[in-house]
């Protein structure tokens, strides 16, 4: 009796719950649309919210930097700097003898870009005999763990300098601030919201990346052409800036962005999305990507559909460069160079020598184009290698990077 009545109450409950779930996911969007992004109200069709990462001033700065000629040795872009404002580091000069102990708090090695980068950094450390110890703590993508790692390295190790590659911009700020009081800190890749670090090493940035790729399509695709934008996942700051810059360029042009999709970095999903887009829109005249990991899958989707591959943007990943050359694509590969992993080591040694370093060490961000493709495409490297590694002349290359002579 009891179970029966209870079961009878079930169906309305099911309906109610399902209804509640459905309405809750379609309507009442929380009112906390980012308040800080008043600069650019670029709400367009598709209901995209203005990215809270878009900053007009930074955007313009990056586009300007992209046109600058960097200072420093031309053959060593990882030692070059753009518009440096030097800062004095005499206070950090290492006294006494004995080897240098460098410490590195790494966000993780959860993607090939970071894996290549870490190899670069380790190779750079080997180049310097004065470095006697190099400690790496890997946070495996956990902000919480990286905070502890930074505390541990700053607190009880005999580190001479601390290199930090933050997992998340905002969340690591307090930990870095605390570490700054104890030893010289070098931040690279992503920044933190404090300028207490002696130097912040990073390339030009996401706006520059996104704009280069978008401008290429604007140039190569005929007006009214249909553009498919493929993004990895929402909410990653370095990727959001790429997309916001590209969107700005597309909005100004006569191109029509028919779809902006998230691929999760999964090539199978990418292939599906591209082939669906081809059949849905009849044709696609250009593909913009916010990173190159899935570029080859996109190219293959066009091949499998039996249509010509339109102009496409990728990244300096080996498999894409190879496909570009083999299939004679119309392509461009802006980069977020992995050679930036070498610079923090160099910066740390300069700081411990008391030599000046830029407060923000802006590295150049070269682009692979048709003209210089052969220069960067090196046969025998593994498919997930990043060509802009600056590692070609390092000892152990190509074997240590997984390549063959």
């Amino acid at each position: 009796m009891n179970p029966l009545t209870r079961r009878r109450a079930l169906v309305p409950a099911v309906a109610l719950l399902a209804g509640a779930l459905l309405t809750s996911c379609s309507s009442d969007t929380p009112p906390d649309s980012p308040a800080g992004a008043s600069q650019a109200a670029e709400s367009d069709k598709g209901g995209d919210k203005p990215s809270k990462f878009f900053e007009q001033a930074e955007y313009e700065r990056q586009l300007k930097l992209g046109k600058e000629t960097p200072q420093g040795p031309a053959a060593k872009p990882w030692e070059q700097m753009l518009e440096p404002e030097m800062t004095d580091t005499a206070q950090y000069e290492k006294k006494g003898s004995g080897g240098t102990h460098l410490c590195f708090s790494n966000a993780g090695v959860f993607n090939p870009w970071r894996q290549v980068g870490l190899k670069n950094m380790k190779a750079e450390v080997k180049l310097h005999k004065e470095i006697s110890d190099f400690t790496v703590l890997d946070a495996q993508g956990k902000d919480d763990k990286q905070i502890s790692d930074i505390q541990e390295l700053a607190g009880n190790k005999d580190c001479d300098a601390l290199i930090v590659s933050p997992n998340t911009t905002a969340t690591l700020t307090p930990a870095v601030k605390e570490a700054c009081g104890k030893l010289p800190v070098i931040v690279f890749d992503r920044g933190v919201e404090t300028d207490c670090a002696v130097t912040f090493v990073n390339p030009i940035g996401g706006y520059g990346y996104g704009a280069v790729a978008a401008d290429f399509l604007v140039d190569k695709v005929k007006p009214k052409g249909k553009i498919l934008a493929l993004r990895i996942s929402p909410g990653v700051d370095v990727l959001e800036t790429r997309w916001s810059a590209a969107k700005l360029a597309f909005d100004k042009s006569e191109l029509d962005v028919v779809d902006a999709k998230f691929t999760d970095g999964d090539p199978a999903k990418t292939k599906s999305i591209v082939s669906d887009a081809i059949s849905r829109h009849g044709s696609i005249d250009g593909v913009w990507m916010d990173s190159g990991a899935t570029a080859v899958a996109a190219v293959e989707a066009f091949e499998d559909a039996g249509v010509d591959v339109p102009p496409i943007t990728g990244e300096d990943q080996q498999d894409f460069l190879q496909a570009w050359k083999d299939k004679d694509l119309t392509a461009i590969a802006p980069t977020y160079p992995t050679f930036q992993w070498r610079t923090p080591v160099i910066a740390a040694l300069r700081i411990l020598d008391g030599k000046q370093v830029p407060k923000e060490w802006k590295l150049p961000q070269p682009t692979v184009t048709q003209a210089n493709l052969d220069e960067y495409l090196q046969e025998g490297m593994p498919p997930l290698h990043y060509a802009m590694c600056g590692c070609q002349d390092m000892p152990g290359f190509p074997k240590d990077w997984g390549g063959k002579k």
């Binding site: 079930l10 169906v11 090939p112 999760d264 498919p383």
Partner: protein, 342 residues
């Protein structure tokens, strides 16, 4: 034994129509869902049923269908296999790594090697689960960590070679110029699974999942049945790895999320977690439904971010309705035949 053969004979003489209806009965909601989704697909995209397009859809669904068939075997005997996603990733990366060292390795050898390795992984999981009495959720969770860790440790984070074109044909190419190999593989795997479930082994497996004790008392070697289920699931995952790797090439995250998708597909097919009930055809239909849902969401242009919300709601709703409604209807029928006012 003799009663079983008699039963078989009876089954084969029974009208095929009745058999179809009976087998549909267990997973009816999933077929309804699949039909709804396929109709919705047709109305959003009129070209969806052109042979090429439809075959491309089946091809895309093939890995998940094969994984679902393997997962079904494990689930129906009362276990889980959370390691299938890791097997797919490890398979793709390992194949690329081997090609890095031996660029001219013949593809049948690599494929066979992968299948064997997948089966071996399943064997280990099965033995740990049955002999050491570790719940399969934990065994395969641990196996997932071990496989992912080991393969990336081995390759230093990324494989050193490309997958050869010959190897990729299975996932990418077509037979006779129109029939994708993946569709063939999917059909064969499905057929094998159906035949397997019709065989004595299938009945053993279901009996094991239904009540291990009763099955053991009836003389079923439950441990052996479970181990075989894990072996087959591992091999199915390796086959999926061949297809996924062929379809989209090397990726360090080829199999990410497949374990949850496969289990969702099986449950969507009306198969009860905990074992003992459900049909393998329905499980595979669940996989097709899931893939159709993904495609529909993609074609509809649902805001990328909301996709997963819609997916979550539909999965819960479908499983919920499948679980609650059908038992209720049956109950009501019995109830009303009793003639008591409600």
């Amino acid at each position: 034994m003799s009663s079983q053969t008699a039963e078989k004979a009876q089954a084969s003489t029974a009208a095929p129509y009745k058999r179809v209806v009976r087998s549909l009965g267990t997973g009816a909601p999933v077929y309804a869902l699949l039909v709804i989704l396929l109709v919705a697909l047709a109305s959003t995209d009129p070209g969806f049923y052109e042979p090429d397009r439809f075959l491309a859809f089946v091809k895309r669904a093939a890995p998940l269908v094969i994984l679902a068939a393997g997962q079904y075997l494990v689930i129906v005997c009362g276990e889980f296999d959370l390691s299938v996603g890791a097997i797919v990733t490890a398979g793709v990366v390992a194949a690329a790594e081997v090609y890095g060292s031996f660029p001219d390795a013949p593809w049948p050898l690599i494929t066979a090697g992968l299948l064997l390795a997948g089966a071996a992984t399943g064997l280990v999981s099965g033995l740990i689960t049955t002999r050491l009495k570790v719940p399969s959720f934990i065994t395969t969770l641990g196996m997932m960590l071990i496989l992912e860790g080991a393969v990336f440790f081995w390759t230093g984070g990324s494989p050193h070679g490309q997958l050869a074109e010959g190897f990729r044909q299975m996932g990418r190419g077509t037979a006779m110029g129109w029939l994708p190999w993946a569709v063939l593989a999917c059909l064969v795997a499905g057929l094998v699974a159906v035949l397997l479930m019709r065989s004595d082994f299938g009945r053993t497996l279901i009996a094991t999942g239904d009540s291990e004790r009763a099955a053991a008392l009836a003389g079923v070697r439950v441990h052996r049945a479970r181990v075989i289920a894990f072996v087959l699931s591992g091999a199915a995952a390796a086959l999926a790895a061949v297809l996924v790797g062929g379809f989209s090439g090397v990726s360090a995250q080829a199999g990410r999320g497949y374990e949850f998708e496969a289990i969702t597909a099986v449950v969507l097919g009306g198969v009860v977690l905990g074992g003992g009930r459900g049909s393998v055809v329905a499980a595979m239909a669940g996989a097709f439904s899931l893939q159709a849902l993904f495609t529909l969401l993609n074609l509809q242009g649902v805001s990328g971010a909301l996709e997963s919300t819609v997916q979550g709601v539909i999965v819960i709703a479908a499983v919920g309705l499948g679980a609650a409604d059908w038992s209720r209807l049956r109950r009501r029928r019995i109830h009303s035949s009793g003639g008591r006012p409600s």
